[in-house]
């Protein structure tokens, strides 16, 4: 009964979305937008609760539960199993969309109720499409009779906290960008693009961006410790699908800052707002349609791919058509000087766009080539490293300089003194890497220099007096970028690796580290058996950790997985993977020492924290409701 109620509630939610969308027609229907958005949230929440209930009580008469759950699953994973599948993740998607709609409806409307109704109508229209997809092509409440007595869903790879909480974070990020999308379309229809619009959209972009950052970082961390390949980013299409909206969102809130402060970049900001959410939808489409081969394979139904494709074409094509038609009538904004804060932000936007472009090309080119010539290729890390890393390095140089430029017109005389500490730190880091750590790769040396250059420059800003929240947030986030770059560079350039076949009792030396194979023994878990190696890790003779990598064999479903043994030390991680026996008493062991690798994720956390701080600032200064709230934005006293 409860699943039928859930199904019915989904229809009600779709009806609420329809009412919301009808506001586009005007004629007074728009007064219903706010209550409709709230109703949509209630219905979607109740439908989600109904599905969650079915998972928690293991109602195997639901096909979805049978396929994705099992009575033996721990309760936590029964719960997260709700969205660890196609239908459930779409239900989560519409739930988050409803949440965003209700948030827009309840939050103050700085641009007036008419604008809010327009924006809510656009959001309702987007929701409606996804409700249609859910109800017509991916019904999560479909029954399966007779009900099996046991479920199929014990996939061990999916029973992991990292993977369990990665999709909700990403979805909040993806869908948060739908607010910016709706605001952009509404602004074009209403012709109200300007600083006030920028201030209204900024918190939503920051919020979405923060969640995207956390979601991507969590996904990367999961891949690092769960896949047992020793890497943390594989430039896999599914990863790129999440990275592209992130890059667009990053560019967006930087250009929103220019629009808010200087009333410039109007059309550009609108385009970015449309693009950011379009890329989110494209990402979902790529993952769900199975068009791109990926390690994160999903079962694929071409009909669903076509449906998603139509939605994508409708929304993105529609928004871009509005853009082509309306953006020309947006009055031109202000011009500006090259040497100014806005000039630096434009450069940032150009570089981010280039980055977005190369990632986009690299992700979709294999598919395009296969479509046209039938030739099968793969584009992997060498391509992305060769294109993204140089762009990133140039951007880091600017990221340290930009904050020292003032708005409108900036002198440059004060720059050398301001940048001296960062320059010294970068030079010192390079020399240290060369002399102490024997780093010879140019890219790695540049990476160390970039991390210290940006890190020191950002800390310097934090040491200034009279900082606004926005400035603290910006400096924190930039510092986070520096920390991540340091982690990525150090864990790559200073990594030690050993691939050995050892007998029990053998030891292997890896740089300053020594690993001794103490034992290999069978162990058993609730639904698996494993061979577990015990490796004693010592550094210069002193024992520091014992690693227990496993090679697991799961029953029901029959599956083999590798559990890496990881010791997190202050210098970095020691990472071990156990391979198969060679048949002569030796065991294959792959060992890595990855210095400072955890800084990668710590940096991402700092970025999100920076976003949160900037957001807190918005919440505070929005109360006076006047533009004067923004006058306090950080600008170092230029030595003019």
């Amino acid at each position: 009964m409860i699943p039928e109620i859930g199904h019915f509630l989904l229809w009600l939610a779709a009806a609420a979305a329809l009412v919301q969308a009808a506001g586009l027609a005007g004629r007074g229907i728009e007064v219903l937008a706010v209550p409709a958005a709230c109703a949509q949230l209630l219905f979607a929440l109740a439908a989600f609760a109904a599905l969650t209930w079915a998972f928690l009580v293991s109602d195997f008469s639901l096909q979805l539960v049978t396929l994705n759950s099992h009575t033996l699953k721990p309760t936590l994973y029964k719960f997260t199993g709700v969205w660890a599948n196609h239908e459930g993740s779409l239900l989560l998607w519409v739930l988050v969309m409803a949440l965003a709609g209700a948030a827009v409806a309840m939050a103050p409307a700085p641009l007036g109720p008419r604008f809010r109704a327009r924006a809510l109508a656009v959001m309702g229209l987007v929701s409606l499409g996804f409700f249609a997809f859910l109800l017509l092509a991916s019904n999560p409440f479909a029954r399966m009779l007779p009900a099996p007595t046991e479920g199929q869903g014990l996939n061990p790879l999916l029973q992991d906290p990292g993977l369990a909480f990665h999709p909700p974070l990403l979805y909040i990020g993806y869908v948060g960008l739908s607010v910016a999308f709706a605001f952009a379309v509404a602004a074009m229809l209403e012709g109200v693009v300007g600083p006030r619009w920028a201030l209204a959209v900024r918190p939503w972009v920051l919020l979405a961006w923060g969640f995207l950052t956390l979601g991507i970082a969590l996904g990367s961390f999961w891949a690092y410790y769960e896949l047992g390949w020793g890497g943390w980013w594989f430039w896999d299409p599914v990863e790129n699908a999440a990275l592209m909206p992130w890059i667009a969102a990053t560019a967006l809130f930087h250009s929103v800052a220019v629009l808010a402060r200087r009333d410039a970049l109007r059309n550009w900001t609108l385009l970015l707002a449309v693009l950011a959410f379009s890329l989110s939808m494209l990402g979902t489409f790529i993952v769900r349609s199975g068009l791109l081969t990926s390690v994160h394979a999903f079962a694929v139904d071409p009909a669903r791919g076509l449906f998603l494709m139509l939605l994508l074409a409708l929304y993105v094509g529609g928004a871009l058509a509005v853009y082509a038609w309306k953006a020309g009538s947006v009055p031109e904004g202000q011009g500006f000087e090259a040497f100014s804060r806005e000039g630096a932000l434009v450069a940032n936007n150009l570089l981010l766009s280039c980055m977005l472009g190369v990632v986009f090309i690299g992700t979709l080119y294999p598919m395009a080539l296969e479509g046209m010539t039938g030739q099968q290729i793969s584009v992997g890390p060498p391509y992305f490293n060769a294109t993204v890393v140089p762009l990133l390095l140039v951007m880091v140089v600017l990221m340290a300089i930009g904050p020292w430029l003032s708005w409108k017109r900036s002198g440059t005389a004060h720059l050398p003194a301001r940048l001296l500490p960062a320059g010294v730190a970068a030079a010192a880091a390079t020399v240290a890497a060369l002399a102490l750590f024997d780093v010879r790769s140019t890219i790695a040396l540049l990476g160390f220099a970039a991390a210290f250059w940006l890190g020191v420059a950002s800390v310097q800003i934090l040491l200034q007096q009279r900082l606004t929240y926005a400035a603290v947030g910006m400096a924190l986030a930039h510092f986070g970028v520096a920390v991540s770059i340091l982690g990525a560079t150090a864990s790559g350039a200073l990594q030690r690796e050993a691939l050995v076949a050892m007998r029990v009792g053998d030891a292997v030396q890896m740089g300053a580290w020594q690993a001794e194979l103490l034992d290999v023994s069978p162990v058993a878990g609730p639904n698996w058996t494993a061979l577990q190696a015990e490796l004693r890790i010592s550094r210069q003779g002193a024992e520091v950790a014992t690693l227990k990598p496993q090679s697991r064999t799961f029953t029901r479903p029959a599956m083999e997985t590798t559990e890496a043994g990881i010791a997190a030390l202050w210098q970095g991680d020691v990472y071990a993977v156990l391979g198969r026996p060679d048949g002569f008493g030796k065991w294959q062991i792959h060992l890595w020492f990855k210095p400072l690798v955890r800084l990668i994720w710590a940096g991402a956390f700092l970025m999100a924290l920076g976003g949160a701080v900037a957001l807190a600032g918005r919440a505070r200064v929005r109360l006076p409701r006047r533009r004067s709230g923004w006058q306090g934005a950080f600008a170092p006293q230029a030595a003019e």
């Binding site: 049978t66 396929l67 099996p148 007595t149 199929q152 059309n267 385009l271 449309v274 693009l275 379009s278 489409f285 349609s289 199975g290 068009l291 694929v300 071409p302 791919g305 076509l306 494709m309 994508l312 074409a313 993105v316 094509g317 871009l320 058509a321 853009y323 082509a324 953006a327 020309g328 979709l364 598919m367 395009a368 296969e370 479509g371 029901r556 479903p557 029959a558």
Partner: protein, 175 residues
């Protein structure tokens, strides 16, 4: 520079992309591998059966009457989904034999109890070698074998309601 044309550019680029995606969606996504064994005699084999029951051997597939050979496993969900259609085939006079792949006998038995047993004979292929010898790349798959032990037709994936008639027709043709 014509501003209007510039504003139209994103839309045009997107339309190009959408066209590309559409073309790719139209192509088959995961090419299924058809067996090279179609048209050839079944490989020689003799599999044990469940408990005391007789197993399945290549001789059982060459008795003069065309049969269906279904490759299944208790851990395979599509196999559960197609179970009613196998029953329908049996009810309409087809002789079915089953090969349970990589499955423990007690689990196979529980599966048959729950989802019905349309099979005349069942062979246990615990290692999955025979499945490979048939050129089958997954479960479930169903083969039509004529009375002389020659594989005539291969059905990939689960049998849906519409496939029942197709398989009956293939059995007819294999006479």
């Amino acid at each position: 520079m014509n501003r209007r044309a510039l504003l139209l550019l994103p839309l045009l680029l997107f339309l190009g992309l959408a066209g590309l995606l559409l073309v790719n969606l139209g192509r088959p996504q995961q090419a299924a591998v058809h067996s090279r064994m179609v048209g050839k005699p079944v490989p020689e084999f003799a599999l044990p059966g469940l408990d005391a029951e007789a197993g399945l051997s290549s001789k059982d597939l060459a008795t003069g009457k065309p049969v269906l050979l279904n490759i299944f496993a208790s851990w395979c969900l599509p196999c559960q989904v197609e179970a009613p259609h196998l029953e329908a085939l049996a009810a309409r006079g087809a002789t079915l034999h089953g090969i349970a792949v990589r499955d423990a006998p007690e689990e196979t038995r529980a599966f048959l109890q729950r989802h019905g047993n349309p099979f005349a004979r069942i062979g246990l292929d615990r290692g999955g070698q025979l499945m490979l010898a048939f050129g089958s790349s997954g479960v479930p798959e169903t083969f039509v074998i004529d009375g002389r032990g020659i594989i005539r037709y291969q059905h990939l994936g689960d049998i849906k309601a519409a496939d029942v008639a197709v398989l009956l027709r293939e059995l007819e043709r294999a006479q």
